[in-house]
Symmetry: C2
Subunit: 373 residues, 2 copies
C-alpha cells in the first residue's frame, strides 16, 4: 500500500475514527487503526469492540484530488501515534507507504516517520454491514433526541440496562426513554409508518454518534441482533446493544397534577446554581418553596450558612408546596427542554414531578424529589 | 461592618486575593478572607502563609462611587464560598453586612446569603509592612525576568533552595538565576546604582506575582529577613523566602564553544515537538545531529518506530556533532528566549550547552545533555 494524500482530509478522517479508540484496550490489536486502500478510496477503521467507526476518504472530491500516486493494500498502524504525527505535521500533502508489511513510513519534504505496523489479517472482523430495517432521520432531529434524553441515563454499571437509551419505533413514532431510576427523560419523533423496532443503545455511545453526525444532514439507523449501525456521509458507526428488557416506564409520568409552576428557564437555573453553593453537607440538594406570593429556592449548610433566592417572575397555581430535589437533575432537565419558559407539574411533596417545555409536547422530564428529614 | 459595593470591583479584588487561597490549609482560619473596612477603603486579605495577598478597594474611583452606605468594621468569611457567590450573582451592586459578629449577609434584590463568619481577631498577624531597600521595576521587565527564568527552577522539594529564583542586585544590575541542576536560566536587568540585595524567592510564587501585576505599569520589590514584598496599584503581595545559600552558578555557563548552530526558533520547536512523539521508552529524549550538510532531530522507540526531522534552514560551524537532550528542557529554553532565531553553542557531546537569543545578551539558557548509551 502507498499513497499521497491531502493532510487535512486524512487528519479529519483520523479524528473521526479516533472516537472509537480508548486509552486501554484488552485486545492489543485494537490500539491500531486499520487502513485499507481499495478502488473506492481509503477506509480507516477504529474500534474498541463496544464502538466501531469506519470512515472513507475518496480519491477525489469534485474537482479536487485527495489521494494520488497510489497502490492498493492494507495495514494496521498505532492509532494514537499516527493521529499525533499527522496532526503535528505542517505540509499540505503527506505520503504513507508500507514497506514489506512490517514498517509504514509517513513522510513529507522534511519529516520521515517509520512506524512498526501489523498485518491487516490480525484485525478482528467487525461486521459493519447494514442489515434489517433502516430509518433515516435529519441529524438535527437525531441530535435533539439524544441531547434531550441521554443525560438522564445511568452511568453506573450495577444495572447495565439503565445505561441504555431505550429506542422504540412503532406506529409512525420513535420514542426515546432514558432513566437512572431517580429521573426520566422521554422524547418522541414522528417517523414513517412501517418501521418497527425496539433497541437499547448505550447512551454514552449515542452521544459519541451525535458528535460525529453534526456535519451531515441525515443519519441512517439500522439494527442487527447485537448492534446498532449509524451511517452518515462516508462514515459508518456500530455500537453494541445492551442486553435485557428495558423496564416499563409508561406509568412513571404522572397523568395529573395538583400544583403547577411556570418560570423562566434561565432565571431558575441561575438561582438554583447560586443556591447550590451552600448545598455542602448534602451535595446538590436544594429546596423549592412556592405559594401564591413567592417562589423561593433555598439551600443550607450547618457549617457555612444558608442561601435564599427569590424568583421575581412566575405563574403558580395550587396551595403552598415545598419540594427538595437534586439540583443537578433539575438543571439538566430544564436545560434539555431548550425553551425560554418551563412548566413544573407537582402531585405532592414526595411524588415524582414533571417538567415540560411550554410549547413542545414531544419531550417530558421527570424528577423524583429527595427527602430532607 | 456594612457596605454597598459595586459587584464587579468586589469580584476583581476577590480574584486577586484568591491567588493566596489554597485548597487545604493546615491553619483553618486561613480558609477565610479577612475583610476590613476603614477610612481608606475595603481591605481584603488572603493567605496560605507562604503567599499573602492584600488588596484594597477605595470608596471612589475618579467620579465613580464604588462603596457607599458604609459602617467600618472587620470580619473573616470563607474565601471559596464568598468568591463563588459574588461571581454568580448578577446585580451591579451588592450589600455585605455583619450581624452580631457571627453572621455576614450578602444580598441583592433577589438573593440573600447568610454566612457564618469569624471574629477578625482570629486572623494571624501577617506583617505586610514595607521595609528595607525598595526597587521599582516596570512590570514588563519584571514579567520578562520571571518568564525567562522561573520555568528552569526545580519543582521537587528534595533541595528546597533549587525551587527558588536567586535574585541578586549589585552594581546597577539585577541578576535572576534558576536551575534544577540539569538546566539553568539567567537574566540580567539594569537597575539604579546603590540597590544591593540577595534573596531566594520561590519561583512558583514569582509566577503568581507576575500574573497579578500584569494590569499595572510598575511593581515595587522590597525584602525583609524572611519575606519578599511586592507592591503594585492597591495590592501588596508577600512571599516567604527560601532559607539557605544558593549554589554558585557563575562557572556553569561555558565561556567558549567548539560548535555553533543558528536556527529559526519556531521551526526547531515544531520539529522537536513532532519527533518527541516517538520518544516513548525514554520520555522526552531526542537527538540533534549536525554537520555542514544537514541538521537532523530524531527520536526512536523500539516498540513503535522512529522519527527523523530535517531542519531546512540553518547556519552551522564546526565538525559533525550528535547531542541528546530532554526535549522539554530545550523547547522551554528556546521559547523563553522569545526571539525569531536562536544560537546554540556546544563544547562537546556531553558538556552543558548554551542557547542564546541572537540579538539579546541579557538572557542565557544552559541545558545539560543526556546519555543515550
Amino acid at each position: 500500500m502507498r499513497f499521497t494524500i491531502k493532510r487535512e482530509e486524512l487528519l479529519k478522517a483520523l479524528s473521526v475514527a479516533s472516537r472509537a479508540i480508548t486509552g486501554k484496550t484488552p485486545i492489543a490489536v485494537l490500539s491500531n487503526f486499520k487502513f485499507e486502500l481499495n478502488e473506492d478510496g481509503l477506509f480507516i477503521t477504529g474500534s474498541n469492540y463496544d464502538l466501531s467507526v469506519m470512515t472513507m476518504i475518496p480519491y477525489t472530491k469534485g474537482e479536487e484530488t485527495i489521494i494520488r500516486n497510489h497502490k492498493e493494500g492494507a495495514t494496521l498502524i498505532n492509532a494514537k501515534i499516527i493521529n499525533e504525527i499527522v496532526r503535528k505535521m505542517d505540509s499540505s500533502e503527506i505520503v504513507l507507504e508500507v514497506i514489506d508489511s512490517t514498517i509504514a513510513t509517513i513522510s513529507d519534504k522534511k519529516s520521515e516517520y517509520k512506524l512498526n505496523c501489523v498485518r491487516p489479517e490480525e484485525y478482528p472482523d467487525l461486521d459493519l454491514e447494514i442489515s434489517g430495517t433502516e430509518l433515516t432521520l435529519p441529524t438535527a432531529d437525531f441530535d435533539l433526541l439524544v441531547d434531550q434524553t441521554a443525560f438522564a441515563a445511568s452511568n453506573k454499571e450495577q444495572r447495565p440496562i439503565l445505561t441504555a437509551l431505550n429506542l422504540e419505533a412503532s406506529n409512525g413514532v420513535l420514542t426515546a426513554v432514558a432513566t437512572d431510576s431517580a429521573r426520566l427523560a422521554r422524547k418522541t419523533l414522528p417517523i414513517r409508518e412501517g418501521v418497527e423496532f425496539v433497541a437499547n443503545v448505550p447512551a454514552k455511545m449515542l452521544v459519541e454518534v451525535s458528535h460525529l453526525v453534526s456535519d451531515y444532514s441525515n443519519v441512517s439507523i439500522s439494527f442487527s441482533d447485537k448492534k446498532a449501525l449509524f451511517a452518515f456521509g462516508d462514515t459508518l458507526v456500530a455500537t453494541r446493544l445492551v442486553a435485557g428488557d428495558y423496564p416499563n416506564t409508561k406509568n412513571i409520568v404522572p397523568k395529573f397534577s395538583n400544583y403547577t409552576l411556570e418560570v423562566n428557564a434561565q432565571d431558575l437555573v441561575k438561582a438554583i446554581d447560586r443556591a447550590n453553593i451552600l448545598s455542602l453537607e448534602r451535595e446538590n440538594v436544594v429546596n423549592l418553596y412556592m405559594d401564591g406570593e413567592r417562589v423561593e429556592i433555598s439551600a443550607k449548610s450547618s457549617q457555612v450558612g444558608s442561601a435564599t433566592e427569590n424568583l421575581e417572575i412566575f405563574r403558580y397555581e395550587g396551595e403552598s408546596l415545598s419540594v427538595s430535589f437534586n439540583s443537578e437533575f433539575v438543571c439538566a432537565a430544564v436545560k434539555a427542554l431548550g425553551s425560554q419558559d418551563v412548566v413544573f407539574s407537582f402531585v405532592g411533596e414526595m411524588k415524582p414531578f414533571v417538567i415540560r417545555n411550554a410549547s413542545d409536547d414531544s419531550v417530558v422530564q421527570v424528577v423524583t424529589p429527595v427527602r430532607t428529614y
